[in-house]
Amino acid sequence: MSRSRRILGVVGQHSVLIGLAIIFALPFFFMLLQSVTPIEEAKTSVLWPSTFDFGNYGEVFDRVPLARYIRNTLLVCTLVVTGTIVSCVPVAYAFSHMRWRGRGVVFVLVLSTMMLPFQVLFVSQYEIFSNLGWLNTVLPLVVPSFFANAFSIFLLRQFFLTLPTETIDAARADGASEFQILTRIVVPLAKPGIMAVAIFQFLFAWSDFFGPNIYLSDEANLTLAVGLVRLNTAAARLGESNLTMAASVIFVMPLVVIFFFAQKIFIEGVTLTGTKG
């Protein structure tokens, strides 16, 4: 291939990349722009606002109990992450560094529950939580996470399998109990993997709409995801998309920040779920 053709190829590839990058970034750009568009201009759909009105962000807090939503969402996220880690780490340990009869079969059973559509479960789960009197509380959203989920077990197991068996076998030979091995060797060594699972669960709990939407009803109990959808519906009638966008920015920004701080963990986690399945 001649030199000029190669340069042309590189230029071509870069133009495609730049074009794609612009298309992917454009929605974010309009989201931020609309979130600071003054209310009168938001209604008349001007593309570029005459002034930036940061007051929209304050207005959203006045219009809906956004502080409550944030508090509720953080509560759910914290409990879901704690529950998942506390329950899944021991299970994943038993599936990675202990040998016992039937391990393979039981692990297949764990994985097969990932295939179940949640629709098969929620109608009946709703009755369980309703009988317990848990409707309109966060309990239906957080309690199940204390009983391990297949996805996190799978991910943690993949991380645990990369740990050196020699260290664990040596500790076992020295008479360490399985609980000691788990807490003193496996957990400290697998911190990045545990972090990855914690981040994924946080993201899931933060974004979840379906669960909170069926279990929570009182305005004061809603999470951000449900609050945003209700605001969007209300604001669409009034043409106040600037408020919806300001609320969206508040909703999305923490996730983007987490992503930038934990980019490496993130990417490894996603890749692991996709290729080693």
């Binding site: 016992w100 009869r101 929620f122």
Partner: protein
């Protein structure tokens, strides 16, 4: 999965994978001359370990019984009954299933789901593969592009739904862009013809996960294959067609399989686009063009038709199961398997 399923006769030490081999050599040497008291101690240790495993697994076991197995059996039973919350179920046999398949809504929802799969998935996978292929070679600035393509996929579905609802609405920025080209902007959320493309647009924006998975697959392709193809005089397209595509096919297979299951459950964005609930019912507007399977089931559930909703969940489960089994059974047709033969 690397686990070997233990055969009944094997001692626990000999089971399993990873590192088991060098342990077993040491044990195998001494096992023949173990005195009886040592054997008893070993049995005690085995029992203790079984108990330990049970304790470690207990969160999953309880969760599986209470939040998975019981609800499944329950909803299976309910699917043959007429049932409302707070009142006992009344057996009606297959009536729910018969009603389901004579119900227009179900066909609408299934049709919409199929539309999203048939038109949405190739677009998403195609663009994700293009992006991944451009990023696979190490070059300056790739990290920035990768981040830009990935970040939309961490945006929660309801937020991206609200965002595109704003972008595409009458007088929204994207309509403005259409205006620049002198075209009339379609009425995305009023015209049934355009509502589903709008849905595909949002999900395509969030293709970051796919791109990362494909990228990891592309990185794993040995350079030597490309070099060999170049020696044979293959051009860019030929290399893509005869090296990249076959080598990446297992990853694409995985994406298509999980994607199909995902489409069947798609809910959030359609809910936002159709403005959720109108007069207490999920609408799937405009003209039912956004009514997905998951939305329809939630509607039945909210109407208090629990037996009906359960029947629908089971139909959904069967569809998912059949798709998975058919795809796994025909895997060899879609996937190039040379790598597995080498391994």
């Amino acid at each position: 999965m690397a686990d070997t399923v233990a055969h009944p006769g094997a001692s626990t030490e000999l089971e399993g994978d990873r590192g088991a081999r060098h342990v077993s050599v040491a044990i195998g040497a001494s096992a023949r001359s173990v005195p009886p008291e040592r054997l008893r101690a070993k049995r005690r240790a085995d029992r203790k370990r079984r108990l330990t495993v049970l304790v470690l697994l207990s969160p999953w076991i309880i969760g599986f019984l209470v939040f998975t197995l019981y609800p499944i059996l329950n909803s299976f039973y309910w699917s043959f009954t007429v049932k409302r919350y707070g009142s006992p179920a009344r057996w009606v046999g297959l009536a729910n299933y018969e009603l389901l398949f004579t119900n227009d809504d179900l066909l609408t929802a299934l049709g919409n789901t199929a539309y999203l799969a048939i038109f949405g998935m190739p677009v998403r996978i195609g663009i994700a593969l293009l992006a991944a292929a451009l990023l696979v070679r190490k070059r300056r600035g790739n990290g920035v592009y990768r981040t830009m393509f990935y970040v939309p996929s961490i945006v929660p579905a309801v937020a991206s739904g609200a965002l595109f609802f704003f972008l595409l609405k009458e007088g929204g920025p994207l309509s403005g862009l259409f205006g620049l080209f002198g075209a009339d902007a379609p009425l995305w959320f009023r015209d049934p013809q355009w509502a589903k493309p709008a849905l595909i647009m949002v999900t395509t924006w969030a293709l970051g996960d796919l791109m990362l998975i494909l990228l990891a697959g592309l990185v794993d392709i040995p350079r030597s294959l490309y070099e060999a193809a170049e020696l044979d005089g293959a051009g860019r397209w030929a290399k893509f067609r005869h090296v990249t595509l076959p080598m990446i096919s297992p990853v694409i297979f995985f994406i298509v399989l999980t994607g199909l299951i995902g489409v069947l459950q798609s809910f959030d964005q359609a809910y936002v686009f159709s403005q959720g609930v109108r007069e207490g019912r999920l609408t799937g507007e405009p003209g039912g063009s956004l009514l997905t399977y998951a939305m329809l089931q939630l509607r039945l559930f909210q109407d208090g038709r629990i037996g009906f909703a359960s029947a629908m969940a089971w139909v959904m489960f069967l569809i998912t199961f059949v798709i998975t089994m058919v795809m796994l059974a025909t895997r060899r047709k879609w996937v190039h398997t040379a790598t597995e033969e080498w391994a």
